[in-house]
Structure formats: C-alpha cells, structure tokens
C-alpha cells in the first residue's frame, strides 16, 4: 500500500496559501532601484498611425524610459509561424488595447499616469468584430480547414428526418485572479532573469531572446506559481515578459510590469466565440445519418493559438458520438479585437456544444428523451471493440469497428461513456426527476424547470505532436533530502504535489523530504507549455524517469557495497532493505553513496508514445487516450425575467486511477463551475466602437459561491484504470470537467422548451443570461412561434 499515491494529499502550498505567505511574482522582494512599467494602448479598433509624439510622456514626473518599436534591438514580433503579432504597433493598430509604446517610471502610479499623455495621431479606419461578416469578406487569420468522412450530403438527403439550425456561442475571459505580471532583472553581460506569471516559460524565453537580439542561453524565465492561468498565460504572457525585458535592458535596472485588471482584460485574448450552423439527417430513433457542422470563430487580430484551438474544435465535433457521414468546416475569422487564445478546453468545448445542440434539437423534433437520443449515437463500447479486435486494431468487418473510428481516423478503443452514463442516470435519479419536472412545469405558469444529462469525451495530448515531451531534474543531497524540478508550471491544479507524490513513491520517501523548486528555464530546457491537461502525464513521467535513474544508481551502489544482487534490494517507507544483509535509512544510503562518489543528480525525460498526426490531412492518432465524464444538471427559470438558478448537479468523472482524489475532485468541481460561468453569466460585450465593455469584475460576472448548486454530488468513476500506460494509470483532469457544464446549458434549454410543451426548439444562445433566456422564451410564445427557427437575435 502506497503512502502517498492515490491519497488526498494536501496541495504542497496549501499552508502558504492560507497564511498569506505564498509568494507570487508581485510579492518577490524588489531591488531598490526597481522601475515600474505601463503600456500605451490603442484607443481605436482599426486605424493607421499617422504620428507618435511621446514628448509629454517623457517629460512626465518619474518617467525614466519610454520605448517604441524603434527601440527594439531584435525582432518586433512575438514569434509563432505567422509572426503577425508585433510587440509594439508601428503603422497601424488592429484592436482597442493593442500596445504601441511602454514607459518605465519610478512608481507604478507615475508610469500609469504618464502613458495617458501620449499624443498619437490616427486615421481611423472601418472595423469589424462580426464573425460572419469577416467570413463573408474572407478576412481570416489562418486558412479555412475542412474534415470530411463518408457522403454527408447524400446521407442527410436520404435520412427520414432533416433539421438545420444556427446558434451563437460566446467567449470567456480566463479571469485568473492574479493578473499578468513580469519582473525583469538584468544581470551581467546581457544576461536577463525574468520572473513571469506564465504557463510557458520556454516560449517566453524564445520571444525575449528574439526581441532582445540575444540567444536563449542569455535568458532565464522563472515561475514558482501563478495565481491561475486557465490557458490565458500559455502564449500571451510573453508580450509582458518582452516589454519588461526591453525596458530593463534599456535602463539596466529591474523593471516590473504588472497590469491593472482592466488593462489585462482589454489587452489579452479570451476563449474564442463562435457562430455555429448545422444540417443533420437522422432516423426515427434519432440516430444521426449525416451531419454538416460549420464552425466560424472570432480569432481577433492575429493567429496566436487560433490554429490549434480551432483544430481541437474540429476534433471534438464528435464528442462521444459516432458520426459516420460528416462534414466539418472551420473558419478562423480575423476581427479587430483581442487575439483570442487558449482557455481550458482549447476549442474542444465549442466543438462539443455544436453536436450537443444538434442532438438536443433532434430529440425535441422526435419527441424523445434527449438522453435516449444521445445514447443511441454513442461510440461502440470499449469491450465490444476489444471483443472483436483484441489486438485493438480495427478491421473493416464488424459493426463495432464501424462505430469506433473518429472523423479524423483514430480508433476509439477506450470508450466507457455508456458505463458512466448508466451509473449516473441511476445515481442522479434522472428519469424520476425528469418526470417530476415535466409535471412541475404543467402546474407552474411562470417558473419552469429543466434537466439535462450530457457526456464528455476529451482527447488527451497536444495535437502538435512535438509538444508531447517533458523533462525533469532531481537532486538528492547528502542528507537524504530531495529537490525536485520539472518543466511544468503550478497554477493551482496541484501539479507540484502530484509530481512530488510520484517521486516520493518511487524513492519510497516522505513527501516532507522533497522540495519542489520553482520552474526555471535554466533547470529544465525546452519545456512545453503546461497546458492541454498534460501537466501530470508528461512531468510525472519525466520525474519518474529521473527518480528511477537515481534509485537504480543507489541500488547498484548498495548491491556492490553489500555484495548482493540488485533485485534483492527494496526501497520501502524511507528505508532501503538490502536483502537480508542490511537495512538502512534512505538518508544513510544516500550519504554513503555520496562518500563513494555516486552521482546523486539526474535528469528525466518522457515523450508520449503511440501518437502521430498529419496536419495536412488532419488524420492520425493525435491523442494518446480519451478522458470521459458525464453530468446531470437541474435548473429553474423565471419566464417573466429569464432569471435562472442551478439547483442540482451530479457528476461522474473518469480520472483513471487517481493520483490524488482531493486534487482531482478540485479540478472537476472547479472546471464545472467555470464552465457553468461560461455558459450562463459570463457575457463579453463589445460596444459599437469595438471596445470591450466588460473588462473588470464589476461588469464581467464569473460565478460566486452562491451560484453553485445547493446539491452538488461529484464522484470519481471507481474501479477504473487508464488502459494506456500513463503515470500510475491515471488520467488527465485539467480540462475535461469544464465541458460537464454543458448539462447546465441544456437543462436551461429544456426549461425554456417547456413553455411550448417541448414541441419547438428554442433558439437559446450562449451564454444563457437572463436576457438570452427571455429572448428564447419570447421567440417561442404563440405569436412568435412560427418564426422560432429563424427569429432575429438580439
């Protein structure tokens, strides 16, 4: 029995969090000559810059340095294949919030006041934030992609039933509680250390090196912890590292750039919003015969991560369903707005929302329980696929195979969604409650309830195969204590804790003997972003590799010392048992090994096996495995105002064999509530001028404690292991639970549909704010119902 694995071990910084002693970037001691930076931003969504006069900025009190693109020693862009994001705009600006110049001053206040004094002349140009207008004008950040299988047009035509529809799906601000911050400290000979709140230090290192015209060896990025990331700090933290570094390099003084919340939300990208259209053909049971999905997303002014985000949308158009004849088209619209970026789920949630909307519509059209329609469309069960094909390689013969391959050609051999849904349907009393709700709605004129059960199947791995690698570095000191470092970032998810559990297990030592040290680019080079839910999978395995090397060396040393066979040596509970010859404390063996000149430091490395993917054809096996889960949510709405409340949620989620159930439950609950925010209250609103009007918590409403369901039952799927050889057979848990919140949206839609006796499909857009709900209700009312399928949207 393991001392740490599978146990609800507390977050390694929990004690520091509750006492206020956890240091975030802004809490680090400042050298006394530290300067403070602020960025000058574009007030126009689209304009040519005619002239830039920063004289008044330079003269402002406390200002030490002012920089524009002309002051950049290296390149003026943030990298990436497109190189389409300048650090500082030069001839034109493409959104409100784009950076044009930056200031370093003796105080934060002085810097922020100074940037408001810029005299910049603009020639204002027409701007567009509308997705479909951009598509119509062929304004794209990246080429349109398609993915097809079978003959969807014919399949739809020949199907007994057809439907088509459209809906809008809003974006979402990451709203990490700690805003973007970078603290650059010049050292010697052009060497620069930057403390950055970032999910991808190596990316920042590349960007800063290029901007400063140096090499990666000259730049060190460090991050001990973030106050939340959620994808927002995957690529976009690099802009702030670059600006802080440029100012530090110019002044040769430490420079801290900390964004105010409004600036942060104005400058940085968010979850992509989408306009989604579909056509579907299906039989009388609701089984989909053919489907066409048209995804158009607002990418903003530049490509950023929009390519892989939208690819993941396409990869999750199937969610848990086998779609034999399918046509997916993905438009990546360029608009005069923030460059949308990663956010937990990374396009996957939007991909799934479409097919769930389609199935919801089918169910109502056929007057069936939406759960029955979802069920009939599921991929084949893993056991059926394996029964037919024990070698796990599908052939052309059996029907199970035919219902087990994704549109991108990857066999789904680990499907457990039926088991999850069956168990959840019973534990959540889905059928009884659904009947009670229908009854309630018959007897209540103004308040209506709704319920929905939705599944999740989420692909785990970076779709860019080369990112699926990780490194770790472990030092054992001669007192037996251990320093653990890896390329992963701690942003609250408990990654450091899980990886330490892995090392403690492998070396059979107490967690207290292990110190997790800050993630730094000079400890583990070339590390991938901590993203795509991959943190524990990748870094846990890399740390395991390093720990095994060290254990091997210690075993070899013990075997030599005691003249015994290596396989007679066991590490157990802080001790090393050398057959029947000796029993040492771990520290004793380490000390003896050191005296005998055994290397006690090791690197570890891991690359995810089996994955391969051809971006040109969008086929292959982009994912190592899938994570599954399902949720049932019940809501109530007020039909006079659209006000609504989540009453109960039941979740059953697959984390394989949990490394740490407390942390996993934390990810599931937190992800679910975050997803519920996305689909209900978190409306992003831009005004006519293209200015984001919801740029602070006063106007942008993430869930508070009172928004969580009063009855909230969350369980991990029991007796469950990952069939793939992941770290101790666990599964990634960062992103998949967010999509469990689809159940909230579809429960709201169910409640709305009740006013037309469930006969019509409500045009409910996301987020389902009170206004969106009231609009959907209004469109269903008798005088409007004939046009409910194509009512104009507010």
């Amino acid at each position: 029995m393991s001392a740490t694995l599978g146990k609800p071990i507390k977050h390694d910084s929990g004690h520091l969090h509750v006492t206020g002693h956890a240091r975030y970037t802004d809490d680090l001691p400042e050298p006394k000559n530290t300067l403070y930076a602020a960025i000058g931003l574009s007030p126009h969504a689209h304009a040519n810059i005619l002239s830039i006069n920063l004289e008044r900025v330079r003269q402002a009190e406390g200002v030490v340095a002012v920089i524009t693109a002309a002051d950049i020693p290296g390149v003026n862009h943030l990298g990436g294949p497109a190189q389409d994001e300048p650090v500082f705009a030069t001839s034109s600006v493409g959104y409100i919030g784009q950076s044009i110049f930056a200031v370093a001053a003796t105080s934060m206040g002085a810097a922020r006041r100074a940037v408001r004094l810029a005299d910049i002349e603009y020639e204002v140009l027409p701007h567009n934030l509308d997705i479909r207008s951009a598509v119509a004008q062929a304004s794209f950040v990246l080429p349109t992609k398609t993915l097809s299988r079978g003959k969807p047009t014919q399949a739809i035509e020949h199907a007994p039933h057809q439907l088509s529809g459209q809906f809008e799906l809003g974006g979402q601000d990451q709203f990490y509680l700690e805003g973007m911050i970078a603290f650059a400290q010049p050292r010697e000979q052009g060497d620069m250390l930057i403390y950055n709140s970032t999910q991808h230090p190596h990316h920042d290192q590349i960007v800063v090196a290029a901007v400063l015209n140096r090499m990666q060896k000259d730049i060190v990025i460090e991050c001990r912890r973030m106050g939340g990331g959620f994808g927002g700090k995957e690529s976009q933290a690099s802009l702030f590292a670059a600006i802080a570094a440029l100012l530090a390099d110019k002044t040769q003084r430490p420079v801290k750039l900390r964004l105010d919340r409004d600036e942060d939300m104005t400058i940085t990208g968010k979850r992509h919003c989408f306009d989604i259209r579909y056509q579907v053909g299906f039989d009388q049971h609701g089984m989909i015969q053919g489907v066409k999905l048209d995804y158009a997303s607002r990418c903003g002014i530049s490509a950023d991560l929009s390519g892989p985000v939208n690819d993941r949308t396409m990869f999750h158009a199937d969610n848990a369903y086998y779609l034999e004849h399918i046509d997916i088209i993905s438009y990546r619209a360029k608009t005069h707005s923030q460059s949308n970026t990663a956010f937990r789920g990374f396009g996957g949630p939007q991909g799934m929302m479409a097919i769930e909307y389609v199935l919801d519509d089918i169910a109502r059209h056929l007057q069936l329980d939406p759960l029955a329609v979802r069920r009939i469309n599921f991929y084949a069960r893993a056991e059926d696929v394996h029964h037919l094909h024990p070698e796990q390689s599908p052939t052309n013969s059996a029907s199970a195979k035919q219902r087990s391959t994704t549109p991108y050609g990857m066999p789904v051999t680990d499907n457990i969604i039926q088991r999850i849904v069956d168990e959840l349907e019973i534990s959540a009393d889905y059928q009884q409650r659904r009947a009670a709700i229908i009854e309630f709605n018959r007897h209540n004129r103004y308040q209506k309830r709704g319920i929905a059960l939705t599944p999740v199947k989420f692909g785990i791995s970076f779709t860019a195969t080369f990112f699926n690698q990780a490194g770790a570095l472990i030092h054992i000191y001669n007192d037996g204590s251990v320093q653990l470092n890896h390329g992963g970032l701690e942003m609250g998810q408990g990654l450091y804790t899980k990886v330490a559990q892995v090392v403690a297990e492998e070396l059979q030592i107490d967690l207290k003997q292990i110190r997790c040290t800050a993630t730094r680019t000079d400890k583990v080079p070339n590390a991938s972003a901590t993203a795509a839910s991959s943190g524990s999978d990748l870094n846990g395995m890399a740390a395991l590799d390093a720990a095994r090397k060290l254990r091997q060396r210690l075993s070899d040393f013990a075997a030599d010392t005691y003249a015994t066979r290596r396989d007679a040596i066991t590490f157990k509970n802080g001790e090393v048992i050398v057959g029947d010859k000796a029993r040492l404390r771990f520290a004793e063996l380490v000390h003896a090994a050191w005296l005998n000149r055994v290397s006690l430091s090791a690197t570890g490395f891991y690359k995810t096996p089996k994955i391969h993917y051809d971006p040109a054809t969008m086929t292959g096996r982009p994912f190592y495995y899938f994570a599954y889960g399902a949720a049932v949510s019940e809501v109530i709405i007020d039909t006079l105002t659209g006000e609504n409340k989540l009453l109960r949620t039941d979740i059953l989620h697959d984390v394989g064999q949990s490394l740490n159930p407390a942390l996993d439950i934390g990810q599931i609950e937190g992800g679910f509530i975050q997803g519920a925010g996305w689909l209900t209250t978190e409306a992003l609103v831009w005004n006519e001028a293209g200015k984001l009007m919801t740029h602070a918590p006063s106007t942008y409403k993430i869930p508070v404690a009172g928004d969580i369901p009063p009855e909230f039952n969350v369980k991990l799927l029991e007796n469950n292991i990952n069939p793939e050889h992941t770290i101790y057979r666990s599964k990634a848990v960062g992103e998949p639970p967010l999509m469990l919140a689809m159940s909230v949206f579809f429960a709201l839609r169910d409640a709305v549909a009740s006013v037309a006796d469930y006969r019509l499909n409500p045009r409910l857009h996301a987020p389902a704010t009170p206004e969106a709900i009231l609009n959907a209700l209004t469109a269903l009312s008798p005088q409007n119902s004939t046009s409910s399928q194509d009512a104009p949207t507010a």
């Binding site: 507390k10 939340g228 006079l640 409340k645 937190g670 209250t681 609103v685 969580i708």
Partner: protein
C-alpha cells in the same frame, strides 16, 4: 430634532477649533502604526504591500469587486467592538485612524494556524491560492461576528470573494468546519484573535485602547504637498469645512471615490471624510413614530438591517446589494447622494416616499428623494450642500411593497434594472395609491408616472395591469449597454409589473412569494 438645532455656540466652536492633528494611528498586531506623510488617497492595500511589506493581501481588481484584498477592520461602534471585512484596495489609509486592522498575517499564532486557516487547509479550499487570503479574512470576519453560521449564511458572507479555481464547495465546507475547530479549542487556548464571537468576553484592553485612539483630538487634517484630507469630528465642523472647501470631495465609505483614484487616476485635491462625525451615525424613529431616520454615516449593512426590521420585503435587495465588504464600508446615504441611475437603494426608497435632509452651512432643507435627481449625474445640490440623512416612512396598514433586482448574476452584480412597487388597495379592490419606481431605465432613478396614473383609482385586475404595462413604454426610453439591451429592460420592466400583480395576493397576506433562491431540486 435638537441635532439640527444649530446654535451659534456650536458653530463658534468649529471656527475656533484648536490646531488640527497631522498624523493618525491605527493598530496592527498589537502595535500602533503611525504612517509617514503620504498622499491621503494612498490605499490601504498599497500601504500594506509597499510600506509594511505585508504581501499576503493581494490586488485582484483594485475596484472592490474580487475580494482578494479583503482585510478586517475593528472599531468601537456605539461602544461595542465591531469587526468588518472591507476591501483594502479602495480604502484610503487615513480612514483607518483610530481603528484596529487585521490582515491574513495577523491570524497565525506562532506555528499554529487559526481555526479559519486550518479549516481552509484541511478542506482543500485553495488551489492557485491567490484569492485565499481574502477568503480567509471574510471567513474571519464571519467568525468574529456570528457564533455559528449555516451554509447559506457562509455563502452570503463570501459573496464579495471571487475564486476561479475551486468552484467554492470546499470553501463553504471550510466555513462550517472553522466553527467545529473553534468549538474544540480549550478555553485556555482562546485568544482575542481565535475566539469566535460570543465565546469569550470582549477584550477589555483592546476596547480601552480603541477608546483612547478614537477619542484622539483634535480633528485630523492632513496636508501632503497641497493634497488635503480633513476628518471633522462634528456636524458643524463638517458644514464649515465644506463651505471653506466647496470643491472638496466628500468621502464616506469610499466605495465609489476609491475607484476614481485606482481606475481613473484622478487627483483629488481635497477630501473631507465623514467617518468621524458621530452625529451622522444614527438610526432612529422620529418622535411621531412615522418615519425611520438614517444618518449619513450609517453603513449600507446597518442601514439595510434597520430597513429590514420594518420592511422584511427588502431581504432580497439587501442580500444582492453589492457584497458584504462593500456594504460594510459604503453608506446608505452615500448610495443616495452618489445618485447613480443604477443605484439599488433608490427605487425602493422612492417608492416608499422617502425624503432626504440636506445641509449647507447653517441652512437645512428637506427634499423628496425623487426630486433630488435632476438628470444624469445632476442633483439638486447647492454649493457646499451635503446629505445629512434619509427619512423613510414607516409601513402603513394595507400597503404592499415589492422590490425586484434583475442582473446577470444573482449576487454582487449591478442591476440591469431594479423595480420597486408600493400599493394600497381600497375596500373595493381598487388602487388607492401606487408608487412605481425603476432604476436602470432612465438617466436617474425615476417613477413610472404614466403607469401609476393608469392604475390609480382603477380596479386591481389583469386588464388594468396590461394597460399599465403599455404605459411603461411612455415612461421610459431605456438604453442598451453591457448589462442589458433596451428591449430587454423594457420587456422585463413590464413583466415585473405583471409579476407584482400575480404575487400581490400572496404578498398582502404576508406569505412570502416563492423565493427563487430557496428552490430545491425535484
């Protein structure tokens, strides 16, 4: 009403006030802190982080909306020790004068965690940890103000704290467990800090120290390179100072003025702080027993508690008004005097026929609240005039009151619109009197005159209500903004009137209407 009996002698005193005090002092962890000269609009958060190097208190938004900066302030309030969670990010430092401050670093006792901290740790209630100190302090405030709390009360106490990681369930668990840990503390281990409310007599030493601190004279008057901060200690002194500095900014809770500094980077040359004018800190019933009088220094929290005693119908409005830290700092009169078209207090107060008392110098007048608002951010205010108090008529027999707030999020959100209805029916079931007032529908909080007129004297029935709903379209031309579209505002305004009609029978028989928030799953 001797308070407003302005004798020449009192004015004389103010004019002859002794030389003012140029420093101020507050207590932190048993030590007296007297800050060095600083701009008076320096926030408490800035001072904690940049001057005291206390980095546990975080900045998440700098506008009092996320709670990462929550600290607890204790003061003597009508001789009782009062603990309040407040947002350090928008609290100006000199307002701490004479108070006790607790930050997250104050709670730990050597190596042992405070019950609040231990509960947070044991419940896995932190993930990224950035919001955690704020949650700890909001829970600490609850711990010091309520001897026990159920889940709903804990949730309400945390309405001003945002967490993006946990989904809140473990934090709510911690709020319950902290009381279990407190109950398990041996009485010998109880300290001023770890003793929950009611478990230990009020710490006399602390009370005495506060008494001494709060009574420090003369009044505080700071001048930092020409930027001034006055904290008059009497109403007359306030009136005189305001006359001397008619361009000064009046500061009460600072929940709006704080943002002028943190967000708009405005320079406020002169601040006059009302917090030391104890004559403005009263809640009373007038001698005729017809109205409730609430002074300008009464916090929103205390003001709403007073209102709720007479108007329990305002419970929902109270719970949804901003957040506990904002209600603890901001004042009811400040909300009124600020005069935002989306201020949540005004529709109900106008529907109830409230009036305000205004004073400028020695001149005092009373004005119907609805007449105070002229146009967007335009109020009927004379030079150096300020609001002394709001007077709210007490309930009358047969009157039905309903107030509804509509926002994207139930708690701690700004209204898309807010409606208040007050109805009196006659014996024939006809409308004897009705007052309907909306926030969020016009440039000012405004009565729906056409709708009222269409109902007054008419039978109280669905047909009349539908006519009144149409009449609302003459009363208002709402705007579209990030909170709601004009069409939604109008439709919901009309529907809220219908809802009031539908619920009126229940309301007047004093059955509570179905409280949405209390609905349980099927």
């Amino acid at each position: 009403m001797e308070l407003f009996d302005l004798s020449g002698q009192l004015v004389q005193q103010a004019q002859d006030a002794p030389a003012s005090r140029q420093t101020f002092t507050f207590m932190l962890d048993g030590e007296l802190i007297t800050p060095p000269p600083l701009p008076p609009d320096t926030t408490l958060l800035h001072f904690l982080r940049e001057h005291l190097e206390r980095k546990g208190t975080k900045e998440g938004c700098a506008e009092g909306d996320c709670g990462a900066c929550t600290v607890v302030v204790a003061d003597l309030h009508h001789t009782e020790l009062r603990y309040r969670a407040v947002n350090a990010c928008i609290q100006f430092l000199p307002t701490l004068d004479g108070k006790v401050l607790y930050t997250v670093e104050s709670l730990q006792n050597g190596h042992s965690l405070h019950p609040v901290q231990q509960a947070m740790l044991d419940c896995h209630a932190s993930q990224c940890g950035f919001c955690t100190p704020g949650f700890v302090m909001s829970l600490f405030a609850l711990y010091k103000t309520q001897p026990a709390a159920n889940r709903q009360q804990i949730s309400t106490a945390l309405a001003g704290n945002l967490c993006r990681c946990t989904g809140y369930r473990p934090i709510l668990d911690a709020g319950q467990r902290m009381y279990e840990y407190a109950a398990a503390l041996p009485s010998a281990a109880l300290t001023d800090i770890n003793a929950p409310r009611g478990s230990k007599p009020e710490p006399h030493a602390l009370v005495n120290q506060l008494q001494a601190l709060q009574n420090e004279q003369p009044s505080l008057a700071l001048d930092y390179q020409g930027q001034r901060f006055f904290a008059p200690s009497s109403l007359d002194e306030l009136a005189t100072l305001y006359q001397q500095h008619p361009d000064a900014t009046l500061l009460a809770g600072g929940t709006d003025v704080g943002l002028w500094v943190t967000k708009q980077l405005r320079y406020l040359p002169t601040l006059i702080y009302l917090g030391k004018v104890s004559e403005l800190d009263y809640i009373r019933i007038d001698t005729d027993k017809t109205q409730l009088e609430i002074g300008a220094q009464v916090t929103l929290e205390d003001g709403y508690h007073a209102l709720l005693k007479h108007y329990p119908e305002l419970q929902e409005l109270h719970q949804r008004f901003a957040s506990p830290p904002i209600r603890n700092a901001g004042t009811l009169v400040g909300n009124i005097a600020n005069g935002s078209p989306i201020g949540d207090s005004m529709p109900a107060l106008i529907a109830l026929g409230s009036s305000i008392v205004l004073r400028s110098g020695e001149q005092q007048r009373t004005l119907a609240l609805e007449d105070f608002y002229l146009d967007y951010q335009q109020k009927d205010l004379r030079p150096a005039e300020f609001v002394v108090a709001v007077h709210i008529p007490l309930p009358q027999a047969g009157q039905t009151l309903r107030c509804r707030k509509i926002s994207k999020r139930f708690e701690q959100d700004i209204s898309a619109l807010c409606a208040a209805f007050r109805l009196t029916l006659d014996t024939n079931h006809c409308v004897r009197e009705i007052r309907i007032c909306f926030g969020g529908m016009a440039a000012v909080p405004k009565r729906a005159t056409a709708a009222e007129n269409s109902l007054r004297g008419q039978p109280w029935n669905r047909v009349q209500i539908e006519q009144a709903m149409q009449a609302l379209a003459q009363d208002f031309t709402p705007l579209s903004d990030m909170r709601a579209s004009a069409a939604y505002r109008m439709q919901v305004a009309q529907n809220l009137l219908l809802q009031f009609f539908e619920q009126q029978a229940d309301l007047s028989s004093s059955l509570p209407p179905t409280d949405f928030k209390q609905e349980r799953p099927a």
